[in-house]
């Protein structure tokens, strides 16, 4: 199978030891310099091409710090601020939510709470109180203390499937309070950068790396090397809110998750009512729920396993509490239909949860239309 073919052009078979090795290395460098230079040129060309043609690949795919390179500045209350801007005191509208509200991968001024005043009729001041990885209990914690000063008139809670999952997953476990989150982020930002950090940031900051990373992850899902399977001993997955079916999950887990979310929402509602605040609930769909296109489901979520209509379920809960409710699914579908296919995903590439700047703007526009149409809070 492996016998040497006749007239083999290789001469190094005659040599052995360190001489053969050094000669082989030298010959390789001599003969393959063009190849090496070509490879470098290809890498640089691809990077330049991506930055020119698909700038969102370099700017918006979230990086190790999940900010897409944008600075993250907090107020002492844990609100995300525009660089150099103090938050309005007090805001009339407070945007509550998880990382999709906080604005993972986008700049503070691009997030939906801070885009909202541009579309609202009349004067208004807004603040972004989104917390990355926050569940509803964590998101609501500290609000009562905060609202002892003049409270906002309206709170908009943007719900995602992540938030519902976290609410059950973290039940009974201590969570990080707002001061700790703020402190940790400030500490991380202040940490001096070593050469290794800078090198890593340069590589990870390149568009090519991000495309490669995203593509490999997508391929792994396609092949089944990564799956959406939740750990039965520690179930946590954004798909659970959609009624993800898995035979070894605790019985009724998805149901309990929704019930706990309902309890937390009831607490927030009571708190808001005591302070005479209007709570509006919005639902942000996961990207894979928007269409049957492969481009919307690059992580190959097997949708046949999803058994709960999450926006409908949330709508029922909101109706039980008599809270105004906006399901953003149709708004996203309608906005995407206005453009040629695949050109306006409104989500960060390779991410089915987090919005890009256009997505945040669309949420702000949709919420403003909802608020501008009649008095939602009577």
């Amino acid at each position: 199978m492996v016998s040497r073919p006749k007239n083999s052009p290789d001469q190094s078979a005659e040599l052995s030891g360190p001489r053969a090795l050094s000669q082989a290395v030298l010959r390789f460098l001599r003969t393959q310099t063009g190849l090496l230079l070509g490879l470098v040129a290809i890498v640089l060309g691809l990077e330049a091409g991506l930055r020119l043609l698909r700038p969102q690949m370099a700017d918006l795919v979230y990086d190790a710090r999940r900010t897409g390179g944008h600075p993250v500045i907090f107020s002492d209350t844990g609100w995300r601020l525009r660089p150099g801007n103090a938050p309005p005191e007090p805001p009339t509208i407070l945007g509550l939510g998880d990382s999709t509200t906080f604005g993972t991968g986008v700049a503070a001024e691009e997030t939906w709470p801070l885009r909202l005043p541009a579309y609202l009729e009349g004067e208004s001041a807004t603040a972004n109180a989104g917390q990355r990885g926050g569940d509803l209990r964590q998101i609501s914690s500290g609000l009562e203390e905060l609202w002892s000063t003049p409270p906002p008139q309206t709170v908009i809670l943007l719900v995602t499937s992540n938030m519902i999952g976290f609410t059950e997953f973290r039940r009974g476990k201590p969570g990080l309070g707002i001061p700790q989150v703020v402190e940790a982020t400030r500490r991380q930002a202040a940490r001096p950068q070593t050469l290794k950090d800078q090198l890593s940031a340069t590589i990870r900051g390149s568009a090519l790396w991000k495309v490669l990373n995203g593509s490999v992850e997508s391929l792994k899902y396609a092949l089944g090397l990564l799956t959406h399977r939740a750990d039965p001993n520690d179930p946590l997955s954004p798909l659970l809110a959609y009624g993800w079916q898995q035979p070894d999950l605790p019985a009724g887990y998805s149901q309990r998750m929704w019930e706990n979310f309902e309890l937390e929402l009831a607490k927030l509602n009571r708190l808001a009512k005591r302070n005479d605040i209007c709570v509006i609930v919005g639902f942000l769909p996961s990207r894979f729920m928007l269409s049957e296109r492969l481009a919307d489901n690059v992580k190959f979520v097997p949708k046949s396993r999803l058994s709960v209509d999450a926006p409908k379920r949330l709508g029922q809960i909101a109706a039980d509490f008599d809270l105004p409710y906006l399901d953003l699914t149709e708004a996203f579908r309608a906005a995407r239909a206005e453009h040629p296919p695949y050109t306006h995903p409104y989500y960060i590439p390779y991410d089915y949860t987090h919005l890009d700047a256009a997505g945040h703007d669309l949420v702000a526009r949709s919420l403003a239309e909802f608020l501008n149409t009649g008095d939602r809070c009577t």
Binding site: M1, V2, R4, P5, S8, P9, D10, S12, A13, E14, L15, S16, G17, P18, A20, L21, A24, Q32, L35, L39, L212, V216, E217, L219, K220, L223, G224, L225, L226, T227, R229, Q245, Q246, P247, D248
Partner: protein, 461 residues
């Protein structure tokens, strides 16, 4: 050290580079050190078993070789070697199984559970060392004078943990001869390593989630889902084990050593006898040469042949694992082989294509049936799976599509002989940089990002 890890690729690169960079007289010592480092990466203490096995078989083989024919010391040395190696296997692999089985039958626990860790590769290296002593006893080879030769034979890292099981007269002379850096062999080795990694990472591991979920929740799964998972396992075990073997053969080839092939398109077999000649060839030939033939083979009449087949296959089943399902797997294979021999279809191929297709279809499904016994956690679970498939029980559904697609890929690759084409392309072209870069681009990000962290199935044996 897993073959499908970044650290192994680095290790292999360093070992091959240093191997050819070192003066000839140091190379065997270096290879021995590298082999132990490879094992130490998993466990240091249990490598003492390798040392013990090497020492016992070195001394026994020398005693046999130096004693005149008929001398009692020859037989005594052989028995010491066999008792030691089988004792090691018995202690680490079968002690708890026998204890619990006896307790189940008699109600008396003969000895408490030992809960010993199964040393990596013990089933392989004990069989290998036994074959060395037996070959010396049978006069097929002379005992090696240099203990380094025996130590390298036992521990040569490419085939240490999951074979192929090599005979001493095949491996050791090559280690002595492997003096020159041969670029053709080097390229062929790289080609095989990349091919094996593709099989493992892209194909075998992609079947693992389906198999694990279905076989881990048997009672909740529908019959169709379990059938789908069984097809998936058929693909997984082939790609996993043959992928491992390709990496082993490729790694050895890069060091100038040609290991024997272990697979020969087994899923194209038209009978179970043919399958067993094409699957894990080094084990089936070992069982044939050292067990079946020792029992008398087919030379003592039909009835004795069938009994010998049953004994050989049952012990072959138990070699894979200590459990009743393994025993049942061996008995099933032995029964089918006996039946084929009885009906005279073991070596007969149908004339028409449609009959051949039917023959292939039946054989493939018999293989899949045997895989249920192989993969199930125990005999009870295997029975449940078979029952649920037979009655097409309702339950959690799985698509048949992905496993069948992967199996179709497998059949096409085997029919077209793409492995040979791939290796030949590398061997023929000194400018392999482009192909190597292409293959590495495909596979390395997967390995680097930890996608393939599933152990090779045969590591558990």
């Amino acid at each position: 050290m897993l073959f499908n890890s970044t650290i192994f690729l680095v290790f292999l690169f360093v070992v091959v580079t240093l191997h050819y960079g070192l003066p000839l007289r140091w190379r065997r010592y270096f290879l021995l050190l590298a082999s132990y480092v490879f094992y130490w990466y998993w466990d240091v203490e249990l490598s003492l078993l390798l040392v013990a096995s090497t020492a016992v078989d070195y001394l026994c083989a020398r005693t046999i070789s130096r004693s005149p024919p008929g001398d009692i010391r020859r037989k005594l040395a052989l028995w010491v070697s066999l008792t030691f190696n089988l004792g090691l296997l018995g202690l680490f692999k079968y002690a708890d199984f026998f204890s619990s089985t006896i307790a189940e039958i008699t109600g008396v626990t003969p000895w408490p559970a030992l809960d010993l860790i199964l040393p990596l590769g013990i089933s392989f290296y004990t069989f290998q060392t036994m074959s060395y002593t037996i070959d010396v006893y049978r006069g097929k080879i002379r005992a090696f004078e240099d203990p380094i030769d025996v130590a390298l034979y036992v521990s040569f890292f490419p085939q240490l943990v999951a074979g192929p099981i090599v005979r001493a007269d095949v491996l050791v002379p090559q280690i002595h001869k492997a003096h020159r850096l041969d670029p053709v062999l080097l390229r062929a080795g790289i080609a095989l390593v990349v091919w094996g990694l593709c099989k493992k990472v892209l194909l075998a591991d992609s079947m693992a989630p389906i198999v694990n979920e279905a076989y881990g929740n048997v009672d909740a799964m529908s019959g169709l889902a379990l059938l789908s998972a069984t097809y998936a396992f058929a693909a997984q075990i082939y790609f996993d084990f043959s992928g491992y073997t390709d990496i082993a053969i490729g790694s050895a080839l890069m060091l100038g050593v040609k290991l024997p092939k272990n697979f020969d398109s087994p899923y194209l077999s038209l009978s179970m006898g043919e399958f067993w000649r094409r699957w894990h060839i080094s084990l089936s030939t070992w069982l044939r040469d050292y067990l079946y033939i020792s029992l008398g083979g087919s030379k003592r009449g039909s009835a004795r042949t069938y009994i010998n087949l049953m004994i050989t296959m049952s012990l072959g089943g138990l070699w894979h694992g200590a459990g009743l399902n393994w025993l049942a797997w061996g008995i099933f294979l032995g029964s089918i082989l006996s039946l084929e021999r009885m009906l005279g279809i073991a070596h007969r191929r149908a004339n028409s294509i449609s009959l051949r297709l039917l023959q292939w279809f039946v054989t493939f499904h018999l293989i899949c049936f045997s895989w249920i016994l192989f993969r199930a956690a125990d005999l009870e679970q295997a029975k449940t799976i078979m029952h649920r498939i037979a009655v097409m029980a309702p339950g959690y559904e799985f698509s048949l599509g992905w496993p069948v697609a992967i199996l179709a890929v497998l059949i096409v690759v085997e029919l077209l002989g793409l492995r040979k084409v791939w290796v030949a392309r590398f061997r023929a072209s000194p400018r392999l940089a482009f192909l190597a870069a292409l293959a590495t681009c495909l596979i390395f990000p997967m390995i680097y990002s930890g996608a393939s962290n599933v152990e090779f199935i045969y590591f558990q044996f």
